[in-house]
Amino acid sequence: MQRCPRCGRLLQPPALRCPYDHAAPVYVELSGRARVESWTVNRHQWFPGFPPPYLIAFVNPVEDQRVRLLTNLINVDPDVVTQNMSVRVIFDRCADGNDEVFVPLFEPER
């Protein structure tokens, strides 16, 4: 993810300038660990290829709890998800035409 070198905040989605102090952000490597901020069990089919139910969540990277990623929680029973639950990124490798796309999903930390 991007980090602002001046204020130290992570930025999501990426931007050309930090929205807080307008410094140019740089990409940094993170642990991939996060905590669950909020979650929902989607029960409606909105898009082809997304059969319900599935879990959608906001997670906060442990490196900066002020920033959030929208993601899916996988490999977890919805009934055991809790606020601040520790989760870890797991990249879902997808193909979009000839492009490889890595979608960041999260599963419980074990």
Partner: protein, 391 residues
């Protein structure tokens, strides 16, 4: 204290088309119906209209999000404008109305016709509600961070409800007050889509769309158009009804235009509304409120943003539906809002506020309504807050 626009402009005419779940009518013709009604209500003819503005215009085709673009109506009605503006990048849906007010105050036009037309009912057909972006190829912008996870606005509203439950102790019973109250108001509005009473048991046992958000927390896709005419203040003398003016306006949005981009996901914006710094009225003076309800939880956010209650306390504040019902301390969404009246996308809220200030709301009229609060928009769209009173 006077807002710079207050003495210069009036909302001279209001109009609405037929509204229905799926009317099967041509969307341009439906839009024209609302526009012609507003022009007639303003005591004008099409030849008098010298400005046009609309939201969202032609910018988001597909799935019925826009019933007619600016150029569609320009062409269909033979308008000869001196000024036009249409588009989605504005302070929420009512940004188009603000544009019209500014154009009239700035002397660019004398009578601006302004509309919002939507036909999601007919365009999406009889199947289940579709997600925006469906079938559109690789998503870009904000949608690129949403669609790969199968997430739509409903899911983001559900995440907001959950966050409010965790932080503020919001309960489904409290949230139910919004849908139940607005349904009771809709029963007094012949144009509303759902008018049968809704009780707490029905709400609590309803189908979940995205737990903890149920179907009664979602607005109703529909066909319908709403239009206004904004005129110079002196035109008030030519009306057969009271002119409505804007006492104060607030359009700021200091967060990124996406749900997760704000500092606080329990709110529409991390910025406090400054509208009370622009008027001598206080929050206690508001007689009726039209608060955007694309999802029920947004009403809670707007109650807090206007300062009707402290941040975090809106759930408890609405727990007794009597407070927000007709005859109560602050009747909200007296036409039924979008939850029961149909998703007229913010323009319905302004239309109802104008009716209330004009004293023309019929069986749902708030006695002696002098000041109306209108708050429209959400975290991803930007927002406009308005106070309306008689000119």
């Amino acid at each position: 204290m006077s807002h710079p626009l207050t003495d210069q402009i009036i909302i001279s005419g209001i109009g609405q088309s037929a509204i229905g779940r799926r009317l099967g009518r041509d969307s341009l013709e439906l839009t024209a119906e609302a526009c012609l009604a507003a022009v007639a209500d303003a005591g004008l003819t099409l030849a008098d209209i010298d400005g046009l503005t609309t939201y969202p215009g032609a910018s988001q085709p597909g799935l019925g999000f826009s019933g007619a673009s600016l150029r569609d109506i320009h062409d269909a009605l033979g308008i000869k404008p001196n000024w036009v503006a249409g588009g989605v990048e504005s302070p929420g849906q009512l940004g188009a109305v603000v544009d019209a007010m500014l154009a009239v105050a700035g002397g660019l036009a004398s009578h601006v016709l302004c509309w919002r037309s939507i036909w999601e009912g007919t365009a999406q057909g009889a199947g289940r509600r579709k997600g925006y972006g469906s079938g559109a190829g690789r998503p870009s912008g904000m949608m690129a961070w949403q669609m790969p996870f199968g997430a739509t606005a409903a899911n983001l509203a559900a995440l907001q409800i959950r966050a409010r439950m965790l932080r503020y102790g919001l309960t489904r019973e409290q949230l139910a007050s919004i849908a139940i109250t607005q349904r009771a108001h809709a029963a007094r509005n012949p144009a509303a889509i759902y008018r049968d009473p809704l009780d707490l048991d029905t709400y609590l046992s309803a189908r979940m769309v995205s737990d903890p958000l149920c179907m009664f927390d979602c607005d109703i896709a529909c066909d319908g158009a709403t239009a206004f005419v904004i005129s110079r203040a002196e035109h008030a003398a030519g009306l057969d009804h009271p002119g409505v003016t804007v006492e104060a306006l607030d359009c700021a949005h200091h967060d990124r235009f996406m749900w997760e981009g704000g500092q606080d996901i329990t709110r529409i914006s991390s910025r406090w509304s400054t509208i009370w710094k622009r008027t001598d009225f206080t929050v206690a003076d508001v007689d009726v409120a039209s608060l955007y309800d694309g999802f029920s939880v947004f009403v809670l956010c707007w109650l807090e943003d206007f300062g009707f209650c402290p941040v975090g306390e809106s759930g408890a504040w609405v727990a007794d539906p009597a407070r927000i019902s007709l005859g109560g301390q602050l009747p909200i969404n007296t036409a039924g809002g979008q939850l029961s009246g149909g998703r007229l996308h913010g323009f319905g809220h302004l239309h109802e506020a104008c009716l209330q200030i004009r004293g023309e709301a019929g069986a749902r009229q708030v006695d002696g309504a002098r000041l109306a609060a209108v708050g429209v928009g959400a975290a991803n769209s930007g927002t406009t807050a308005m106070l309306l009173r008689r000119a």
